[in-house]
Amino acid sequence: MTLYILCFALFLTGLYGVLTKRNIIKIVIGLSVMEFSIFLFLALIGYTNNGDAPILVNGKEQLLFVDPLPQAMVLTAIVIGLATNAMLLAIAIRIYRKYGTFDVRKINQLKG
């Protein structure tokens, strides 16, 4: 049970990073930390006691496997997180060329 609470604490750490940091790159890193905590939580859900890795090997009889469905979900979610990070960083590079700064408080052309 403490493992799940620690995953949630990592999620809140990432959320703190997104909310209070002023540099754009640190906001992106905070978002990444939030993502990784959810992947860890998903992979921990599927654990059964005394389970083995879910692969069929010839000549070995095993009846109890770890749940493979959350592992497939985490693989897909990692690739989606990769696409999100790539988009964020490409936009961050272009913002630096146009505005000349990475500080969020100075990037406020649109007001109202």
Binding site: I38, I45, M73, T84, L88, I91, I95, Q109, G112
Partner: protein, 324 residues
């Protein structure tokens, strides 16, 4: 006739990846094929509404049948509500493509625009048609990432800033939704929507179900610009190119945000009095704050964006009252 339901996902996806290949050689290929695809899908949706208006079509992708009483396939489900939303998505996309023939003269990378628009419509069609929770998350992310790129299409200062704000808020919304889906899987150990609704009825008053419902309201409320989470819509709406503004405020926040909330709260969870009260209060706040903030605007597109926030509030009031 039933197996034509997969065309909603195959056709826009195939067009989106055919356009960079062939659009380099043939001149007007990109616009023509997108317009043809959306016109065909609109006609197919109108046929589905008029012919199948009283039964639901269930299509198992992969053909895997129910084994040991557990449904293991991914289902595509079409009923009356989905049919109406499909007509709306494809019709508005067709009109946006027709309008953008002359609007895109001032941009240089036209092929990328049409490819991203087809990807966004493929994602939205998938969200409306799916019957499986994780499939919903994947299609929602496809549509959302395509819309992040489309908002920043002409790379001026304001468009990049608006797209960055939209991306950070949209990314956090997706993470809340993924956490909600993980908790649903932990509680019910299934991802199929119909099966999860049957198992969740035995968990009626538990606190984890209330936590999951609040996470979904936060996540999908951010996607549909409800009032504490509305900060991205005025910037994104006013900086995007005009066909994308119409798709974003007119179709995307409704198909990804409001439709999924209605599906989840009326089909998967059985709705209780406290959640309905929360939704109604948030809807009333949206209606008032969207209307009041629209008075002091000098820019037409920002005015229309605040009006969109107010209209979303109306929809949430109707949703919340419908179960008292």
């Amino acid at each position: 006739m039933e197996s034509l339901i997969v065309l909603y996902i195959i056709l826009p996806l195939g067009a989106a990846f055919l356009i960079p290949l062939i659009g380099r050689f043939v001149r007007f290929f990109a616009g023509m094929i997108s317009a043809l695809v959306f016109l065909g899908l609109t006609a197919l949706s109108i046929v589905y509404i008029s012919a199948y208006h009283s039964e639901t079509i269930r299509y198992a992708v992969g053909g895997w049948q129910v084994t040991n009483g557990i449904p293991i396939a991914i289902y595509l489900v079409l009923d009356g509500f989905s049919g109406i939303i499909l007509v709306m998505i494809n019709l508005v996309a067709f009109f946006a493509v027709v309008y953008s023939f002359s609007y895109l003269q001032k941009y240089t990378a036209k092929n990328n625009f049409y490819a991203l628009l087809c990807l966004m419509v493929a994602g939205m069609n998938g969200v409306v048609l799916t019957g499986d929770l994780f499939n919903l998350y994947v299609f929602m992310e496809i549509a959302a990432i395509a819309s992040y790129a489309l908002v920043a299409f002409g790379v001026e200062k304001e468009e990049l800033e608006a797209s960055f704000k939209y991306q950070v808020l949209g990314g956090m919304a997706s993470l809340f939704i993924l956490l909600g889906i993980a908790l649903v899987y932990w509680t019910t150990s299934t991802l199929n929507m119909a099966d999860a609704s049957r198992i969740l009825q035995t968990f009626a008053g538990y606190r984890i179900v209330i936590f999951i419902q609040l996470l979904f309201i936060a996540g999908f409320g951010m996607k549909s610009a409800l009032v504490p989470f509305h900060a991205w819509l005025p910037d994104a709406h006013s900086s995007a190119p005009s066909p994308i503004s119409s798709m974003l405020s007119g179709v995307l926040i409704k198909a990804i945000g409001i439709y999924v909330l209605i599906r989840l709260f009326f089909t998967v969870f059985s709705i209780t009095y406290e959640i309905a009260l929360t939704i109604t209060v948030l809807g009333v706040l949206s209606m008032l704050i969207g209307g009041v903030l629209a008075i002091g605007q000098w820019d037409y597109k920002r005015l229309l964006a605040y009006s969109s926030i107010s209209q979303v509030g109306y929809i949430f009031i109707g949703l919340g009252i419908g179960c008292w």
